[in-house]
């Protein structure tokens, strides 16, 4: 039976401290929950869902071997949900396991310096998944990838992209053989890049860009040419445009 204690435990996962202690996170809504359940490396601990969702998703529920499934009514759903408009199902998953050290040789990877907006981080994870990028290295000041708003905006891609939190300067020094390309307001046009088989593509904070001391470690600076008058592009849009160009080349 769904108890007040269980509800309180689920809601506590809106706080990073508690997510870190327990090692779990919340996902909501039929689309995101179904994508996560369908992923081979997702482990689901708890599902609270309306009857209709449970009936329609029995095939997915077979995967909840070590967890509990609660059928709840709309009243309980509204109590548990963190969304303004609760949507059929709230689930608790274990955080995804990560390698101790990401393998970045012979592939394209992302690095994020201080991306603050959860929607932007989630959208960048989704971009990475679309363009086949396996690894994202985040500075410790980035939004937490298990923040419920990030989880919602990844649309399930969180299960397919590894997100690491590292000190970026130490990391770049450690992986010194892999060139870092910093996205900036000036530099080589992204239209003129030749084919790149290996590299880390670095994107900075929404308003301040990449910290100077990190930008100085970049081997190349790349930019998206401007044809109109906007001062800048949204961080997730800039990320998508650069990934699309890299994959074209």
């Amino acid at each position: 039976m769904l108890t007040k204690k269980i509800v309180k435990d689920i809601q506590s996962l809106s706080h990073k401290k508690l997510r870190d202690e327990v090692g779990t996170f919340i996902a909501e809504g039929p689309k995101v929950v179904a994508e996560l359940l369908a992923s081979s490396n997702a482990r689901c601990r708890t599902i609270c869902a309306e009857k209709d969702w449970i009936t329609q998703n029995e095939h997915l529920l077979e995967k909840v071997t070590a967890g509990q499934v609660f059928e709840i009514d709309n009243h309980w759903l509204e109590r548990i949900s963190l969304l303004k408009t609760p949507n059929q199902v709230v689930a608790v998953f274990e955080k995804f396991p990560l390698l101790a050290k990401p393998v970045l040789q012979n592939k394209l990877s992302l690095m994020l310096d201080d991306i603050q907006d959860p929607g932007n981080l989630g959208t960048i994870i989704r971009n990475a998944d679309w363009f086949g990028i396996e690894n994202i290295i985040c500075s410790k000041s980035c939004a937490d990838c298990y923040n419920p708003k990030v989880v919602q905006s990844t649309m399930g891609s969180l299960a397919r992209v590894s997100v690491f939190y590292k000190d970026l300067i130490s990391f770049i020094n450690e992986y010194h053989s892999i060139p870092v390309y910093g996205a900036a307001l000036s530099g080589k046009s992204v239209y003129e890049l030749e084919e790149i088989k290996e590299g880390i593509f670095l994107f900075g904070n929404e308003s301040k860009g990449i910290h100077d001391e990190i930008l100085n470690l970049c081997k190349f600076r790349i930019t998206i040419p401007r044809f109109g008058n906007a001062e800048s592009l949204n961080a997730a849009v800039a990320n998508g445009i650069i990934l699309a160009q890299l994959k074209r080349n």
Copy 2:
């Protein structure tokens, strides 16, 4: 003097009905307000700002010839602001004047079918401004471009892009000489497009895409090739990627 009546009038602009009646909208924060004030076609009716902002922006305030400027303290700012974190200044502007009929010959334009999320619409307006697109034709079911959340996410670009609300089917029929390119999950790769000098680029709803009856009016379907596993891209990211490719060609 700032009266309760003025505060109430400002706050009423969070509702589309009132914005339509009065013909004004709210903008907040130093960046957005400064960008709008700097635009030649912006007409500001009211500014409520903290002392520091007023001192630092006297050169911009010269443009508020037909409006009122109120110096307010943080307490009043928090009362007036629609933001979670109020930021120095709240301003009321007149909506931007529009031509009766947009001129789309010999240029690239955008069309949006049922874009619901205010953040996505604002980011698409910002993309348009970056890539030098002058006109966006929205279906009447799209978010309102003067919704405060849209205004915030345009970062000032709203002053430089004309946003029209039209019945899309009638509009496409009326402008039948201009080809419409629909962004879809299948079609010609955006990487393979040749140089296009004139066209309307159509983007659909965040989850449902373009309505069938409108997609059927498109002369071409274009798509962004997928290299990984995400089911879709965010609407504003897809828009940015396609604009970047068009401008490359």
